[in-house]
């Protein structure tokens, strides 16, 4: 990754204009051609540095709800538990973190009722009862772009 890659990534993370030729807006300030930008983006995607280029949706705008879930899972049951939980399309991030609760995942579904149902189902399928969720009472900051 060189400086030009970093500059491209910084711009593309902020967002592309919704126009017929969105890459023009990236190429122009960097004095590159659209083809050069395309070539670099394809490579960065191939190398796995870019996970996805597309629309970033706001589920809350459609009335959906998001919450952080935490489970206390014995070491030998972690793989089974994660296998069940990860099958749910509303689970987008899932990490092991060493603490009282050791599996931490986010769940986004159409309603709070659905949160309760989903977690009850996870417990039933996995036998893990120490499963809590921690809805945000207030959001002070959300920033998913990284200055490189």
């Amino acid at each position: 990754m060189d400086d030009t890659d970093r500059k491209i990534l910084n711009l593309v993370q902020k967002g592309l204009p919704v126009t017929s030729r969105p890459l023009e807006k990236i190429a122009e300030p960097l004095s590159l051609t659209e083809d050069e930008v395309l070539e670099r983006l394809r490579r960065l995607k191939e190398e796995g540095i870019i996970r996805r280029i597309g629309a970033i949706l706001d589920p809350r705008s459609l009335g959906w709800v998001s919450t952080l879930c935490a489970a206390r899972v014995p070491e030998e049951k972690v793989d089974d538990f994660v296998g069940v939980v990860n099958q749910h399309p509303g689970v987008t991030h899932n990490y092991e973190r060493y603490a009282y609760y050791n599996v931490w995942f986010t769940l986004t579904v159409p309603s709070w009722e659905e949160v309760g149902k989903t977690l009850a189902e996870f417990s039933k399928k996995t036998g893990i009862d120490e499963l809590v969720h921690l809805p945000a009472r207030e959001i002070f900051k959300v920033r998913v772009q990284f200055e490189l």
Binding site: M1, L9, V12, Q13, K14, G15, L16, V18, S20, R21, P22, L23, E34, D35, L38, K45, G48, I49, I50, R51, R52, I53, G54, A55, I56, L57, P59, S61, L62, L68, R72, V82, V85, N86, P89, G90, T92, H93, N94, Y95, E96, R97, Y98, A99, W104, F105, T108, V132, L134, P135, A136, R137, E138, I139, F140, K141, R143, V144, F146, L148
Partner: protein
């Protein structure tokens, strides 16, 4: 909240995946959907104006992009101070997310910050700085030891 039309759902289904890496990505998507490009652009702009699409852009695997360590900082803040402390932490450029959540059994923490740094030690220094800045001494940093899943949500099926 205006419900989505079938056409809008079809557009979102395409755009929640990958934008084709070509000069005219919307022309390609419009063709797949059987509409013309100006109509597609109008629908996308309208979905953005309504806040359903935040932006069209790139999401990185930040570990691969050089932002190596992330820590979830959990803080135990007196209820009356949560707003002040939350805002102070949110101002910090190394904090990407800052949420207030209610404590639960075995877990007394009520303020959550995602901290990103070059190394785990860097995250620890950032947390220490936040602790000194806010006066909140009761906190823990939870590093992720394994990543089980990370993907974008597909809300339209």
């Amino acid at each position: 909240m205006i419900p989505l039309t079938e056409k809008e759902k079809a557009v979102l289904r395409e755009l929640q995946g990958d934008l084709p890496l070509v000069k005219h990505p919307y022309a390609e998507i419009a063709e797949r959907l059987g509409i013309d490009e100006p109509e597609l652009l109008k629908i996308v702009r309208d979905l953005m104006a309504r806040g359903i699409i935040r932006r069209v852009g790139a999401i990185l695997r930040h570990r691969k992009a050089g932002v190596k360590a992330n820590a979830m900082g959990v803080w135990s803040v007196p209820e009356a101070e949560v707003k002040r402390v939350g805002r102070l932490m949110a101002e910090d450029p190394d904090v990407t997310h800052c949420y207030q959540r209610d404590p639960v059994a075995h877990w007394p923490y009520n303020l959550y910050t995602m901290i990103h740094g070059e190394t785990e030690e860097a995250c620890e220094r950032i947390a220490k700085r936040l602790s000194e800045k806010t006066g909140i001494a009761s906190y823990r940093l939870l590093f992720s030891t394994r990543e089980f899943k990370k993907e974008s949500l597909k809300i339209i099926t």
